[in-house]
């Protein structure tokens, strides 16, 4: 009984410890994702991308992320000529 309590406590303690790490990892991964988006949609900021046309088919899966991305990239308004998502 007591042992279970201790186990719980230890688990909780580990959870607390790993929280900031998880956040840090998530941020790292988000950065990787950001770079990926930049590779895909570099055309929008004037860097040519030979496969731009083929990235359009990825667009449906990107749309959600897209808005947050361009804000993080420091672009107030969407770099896309069309999208006024803000």
């Amino acid at each position: 009984m007591m042992l279970d309590k201790v186990k719980q406590l230890i688990a909780f303690y580990e959870e607390v410890l790993s929280m900031p790490h998880r956040q840090e990892i998530a941020r790292e991964l988000r950065n990787e994702d950001d770079l990926f988006l930049l590779l895909l949609y570099s055309e929008m900021i004037g860097i040519p991308n030979p496969v731009y046309y083929y990235t359009l088919e990825l667009y449906p899966y990107m749309i959600e992320k897209f808005h947050d991305w361009h804000l993080r990239m420091g672009m107030e308004k969407s770099p896309m000529t069309g999208i006024r998502c803000c």
């Binding site: 590779l39 496969v51 083929y54 667009y59």
Partner: protein, 307 residues
């Protein structure tokens, strides 16, 4: 012509040397021999329809027994592609944003390179999917530069897509290891890219396969076409595409009348000599200059006797 044994034949060359005529005559001959043949034009200045005296356009049409033709229209292809993307977006984006997204996609349609990419995409579809319906595919291509670019795209695109895939894969692996307890993550983006990459690499394998694909260049016995052909052969060779057949078109007949033509023939002999000296590795097919344009199936019949 040995190249007629291949199931895919590309006909290239400088503008005006007789590419479309040669391609049409080759397709005609193959169809006559009983092969189900598709003649495809990738040249924006489509001439195939003019040769057969009928409208062809962006859909496959039957020209005669065993012979079908298609003139690729990048605009139709881009429209189809963008429509597909829009279909996929349905249900993902809330309706307020829909209009903006559509507008964005329509601008992409006009982006530089979209036409080329659409044409290339269609070419790959034909190579991968139409082979089931036809024994022979004959491609009448645009002037040299475009053709070389088109044929080297699989390489370029492949490198890019591979790079994107690698990157994506790494991120996914990290994500699943660090934040997903080792459970693999579902990633539609990766899947879509993967499908793309597989298509490109399959098409590339077919283009590079000497058993399946042959390349023909058409030229005239004149200085510029000779030089251009030489450069094109060298460049394609770098990409492992080997041109093994040359059609030398519009050769003056041996017996020419009048001082003017005799003079002309004298110069031409220099060039035919240069052709034999320059292109030692290629099979050379000579086709005479006819007294009239090639505008009918009978003419094509005559033309194709020289292959």
């Amino acid at each position: 012509m040995e190249v007629l044994n291949k199931s895919i034949i590309f006909v290239g060359g400088k503008g005006g040397v007789g590419k479309s005529t040669s391609a049409a005559a080759i397709a005609w001959k193959l169809a006559q021999q009983g092969y189900r043949t598709l003649l495809v034009s990738t040249d924006p200045a489509h001439n195939v329809g003019d040769i057969f005296n009928q409208n062809i356009g962006g859909k496959t049409v039957e020209i005669s027994k065993n012979l079908h033709a298609l003139e690729i229209d990048p605009e139709i292809e881009t429209d189809k592609y963008i429509k597909g993307v829009k279909e996929n977006i349905k249900g993902i984006v809330h309706s307020g944003m829909m209009e903006e997204v559509h507008r964005q996609l329509d601008t992409a349609k006009a982006s530089p390179g979209a036409d080329e990419a659409a044409l290339f995409d269609k070419l790959i579809s034909i190579i991968l999917e139409e082979r089931a319906n036809f024994d022979k595919l004959v491609f009448d291509t645009a002037p040299t530069g475009h053709t070389i670019r088109l044929l080297t795209l699989p390489e370029l695109m492949g490198v890019w897509i591979n790079g994107l895939l690698e990157k994506r894969k790494k991120t996914n692996e990290n994500y699943s290891a660090l934040l997903n307890d080792g459970e693999p993550v579902e990633d539609p983006i990766y899947e879509v890219l993967k499908t793309r990459q597989e298509r490109f690499s399959k098409a590339r394998d077919i283009l590079l396969s000497e058993k399946e694909t042959g390349f023909i260049f058409v030229l005239n016995p004149e200085r510029l076409p000779i030089l251009e052909t030489q450069k094109a052969i060298e460049l394609l060779h770098k990409y492992d595409l080997h041109v093994k057949t040359l059609i030398i078109n519009k050769v003056l007949p041996e017996e020419v009348d009048g001082a003017f033509f005799q003079e002309r023939k004298k110069h031409e002999r220099k060039y035919t000599q240069l052709i034999t000296d320059t292109f030692t590795k290629q099979q050379l097919i000579y086709i005479p200059l006819f007294s009239q344009d090639i505008v009918s199936k009978n003419h094509l019949e005559l033309f194709s006797k020289y292959f």
